[in-house]
Amino acid sequence: MTSRTLSFVVTLALCAGCRSTDALSPAAWPVTDVGTPSGNLTNGCVADYSPGVDYFPAKVSVQEAQSFRVTYHGHYKVIDFVPDVGSQETARYVLVQCGTPVPPGAEGDHVISVPVARFVLAKAEFSSLVATLGLQDRLVGISSIASIADPDIIRRYDQGLIAAVGSGTHSAIELALAVDPDVVFTWYSAFADANMHPKLWDVGISAVPLADHFEPTPLGRSEWMKFFSLFFNEEQHVEEAFTGIAGRYRALAARAVQVSHRPKVLLGWPSTRQQWALNGGRNYMARMVEDAGGTYVWTSDSSRSLDLAHIEQVFDLAAEAEVWVGNQLGHDTLGALAADDPRLALFGPVERRRVFGNDLGRLPSGAFPLANESIGRPDAVLADIIRILHPDLLPAHALTFHHELPQ
């Protein structure tokens, strides 16, 4: 009995009362003769494998993202995961079309049969893609329902069709095992100990870290849609969608290039009494502010991730900031902000009454749409920020994800 099977049996015994799911098991895919397919198989296995046939006629090309590469090899595709965040970690995923053989030489890599039929998504930022790609009935687990704003996923969770497995802990691994996924998509951290995927690999689960948040550009981050789609053979759908997104994004950015005044912008939010969660100077949000015709106040920083800065330092940075975009602590008014921490009332943008939360549509659980949708809608986020910084450029645009905090 393999360690995975043993773990699965033990966990099932422990979780006799756990939720059940209705997702298809890998064996449930229909096995069909496809000959030379004209499109990718998004819900089936190949019965008549023939070497030399291209089973992925729809492909993605990665133009903007820097943390992964993909190559196609007839009946399998190879993803090289190369996050350049100082973690020194790389990984290779060999995605093999269901019904075709594992290529020789792939023994040391992570081999995954595609299209994936059951998956756990432990990174809520990708949750809107579940509906976009029509994967609702394949999603069997999430990290926490509190971070999900998608009503369909919430409904399915309430119906017991999706389990909350948590993240990072041993109990999370047990719970992930219990839903028997083909793949668990996890949140990638530059700090090795914070990562869940090595622990899942140890127990035989195919875990795939998602590192979109380290991309230096919004479109690079958005291209992680393509990364995600590779596991479901949904390249055509996503490639078309991304082309539209990129076109709209670039068109919006072009409108903001010639602005005569570039307002200084503060991002992030106070994460503790002494710290501020601040987008690094090379983070995609810093680039988005530039693309929106603004000037980010922390361009001197070289970090790609969301970083922590001392609140005193941020106060100094914010002194000349005209606008603060990105508070996501649930404040509805500037008064509520000041009631939370009176020091915040002294921040430059707060004194100027130019504070915008990015948690429009926040649910009681704390989840809000931007956190779930921004990967697939960077153009909408950019439009919001342009509207905030340069209202005259997009006078008719109604904010999609942001809201101004009134007095």
């Binding site: 971070s147 005193e312 100094d316 509520a336 921490d341 020091r343 659980s365």
Partner: protein, 365 residues
């Protein structure tokens, strides 16, 4: 004057030591006071943002400053934090002395004995009962929330102390120390269980409050904290005579006319008054009380509470400021958290105390 101090110590674990002369103790107080002032000024002068010392002095003197932002940083960020570190450090230093005498154990302090965990449990219960925490709590309850948090923390601290008081009549002081430790663990477990009943946002807000820090205290909170600590330290100082008598053993103290129960109740109330609000506004601050008491005792070579209590309060204030200063040095990346800094200082001192005492090495307290 030092009739009690000379040849006595905290419990049987302390080495008898001669007390200082009046001149040397005065000298030590002067040094402590000077160190306190220096630490306070350094706390105002050094931080994440580099502000020239001359500008800091000018700001404090109410003069002109080159940048208005600097004035706000010094007066709004650093000054309340420094006052909090000073006041809370003094409170914990006094608590350390009180508890080490009450339990006749050199390792007793509000954190080790579970008193801070009692305060944390009470605040967690408040969060669950009201259904909100963090910004929402402040927005909904305002100053009332501040007072409620403070009262809950004090009640939690006193609750743990009352339990220990109830047990204290039946067990030895050493056992009582263990009871305190166990109560702390019970509180930690209950906090964890309670947090299952709040959503992640509230749990995150609670954990933000729960991270020990002198930062972010509001003026209203200081107006609550400072009088309580002043009253608590004054009460502690009023208890120096019965505390000195307790050093000689409860039986002996009773023969001297000291009401043991009354002394304990007052001392426990004092600890609740000091440790509760500090925990409410700073979160749990480990080891500071323990370390301050030992440093003061080591400086003065006495266990006479008339000398020791103010010295421990001063030392606690200095340690609070110094530890906070280390966390706020302009580190290039990342943060040193207060509990980490105090732990780095406090744990070695606790180890030193254990290894220095033959009885404790052999667990023969």
């Amino acid at each position: 004057m030092n009739s009690v101090a000379a040849g006595t110590a905290v419990g049987s674990t302390m080495t008898p030591a001669a007390g200082p002369s009046r001149a040397s103790s005065t000298g030590i107080y002067v040094v402590l006071a000077a160190t306190l002032v220096t630490a306070f000024l350094l706390e105002l002068a050094i931080g994440a943002v580099r502000i020239p010392l001359g500008e800091v002095v000018s700001i404090l003197a109410g003069g002109h400053t080159e940048q208005e932002t600097w004035a706000r940083i010094v007066l709004t960020f650093r000054l309340p934090r420094a006052i909090n570190a000073l006041v809370s450090g003094a409170a914990l230093g006094a608590c350390g002395v009180l508890l080490q005498t009450l339990f006749r154990n050199p390792l007793a302090d509000p954190f080790v004995l579970g008193i801070m965990h009692g305060a944390r449990l009470a605040v967690a219960t408040l969060v669950v009962a009201t259904g909100v925490a963090g910004p929402a709590f402040a927005a909904r309850f305002g100053d009332l929330g501040t007072i409620a948090t403070s009262a809950a923390a004090a009640a939690g601290a006193i609750g743990v102390l009352l339990l220990m008081l109830a047990v204290s009549a039946r067990v030895t002081t050493v056992t009582l120390l263990i009871v305190g430790l166990l109560l702390g663990y019970v509180c930690i477990g209950l906090i964890s269980a309670l947090l299952h009943f709040v959503d992640e946002v509230q749990a995150r807000a609670f954990s933000q409050w729960d991270g020990g820090s002198f930062d972010g205290i509001t003026r209203q909170q200081l107006f609550i904290l400072m009088p309580l600590v002043v009253i608590g330290i004054a009460l502690a100082h009023a208890l120096v005579k019965p505390l000195n008598a307790l050093l000689l053993g409860e039986s002996y103290a009773a023969t001297m006319g000291v009401s043991i129960v009354r002394a304990r109740v007052l001392a426990f109330a004092c600890v609740g008054l000091l440790a509760g609000p500090v925990t409410a506004f700073c979160g749990p601050i480990p080891f500071l009380g323990l370390v301050a008491a030992h440093v003061a005792r080591g400086l003065l070579h006495t266990s006479d509470h008339r000398l020791l209590m103010p010295a421990a309060a001063l030392t606690g204030a200095i340690l609070g400021l110094a530890a906070d200063l280390v966390t706020h040095l302009p580190w290039n990346k990342h943060f040193l958290h207060l509990d980490a800094v105090i732990g780095m200082i406090g744990a070695p001192i606790a180890l030193w105390v254990i290894l220095r005492r033959r009885q404790m090495r052999a667990l023969e307290i």
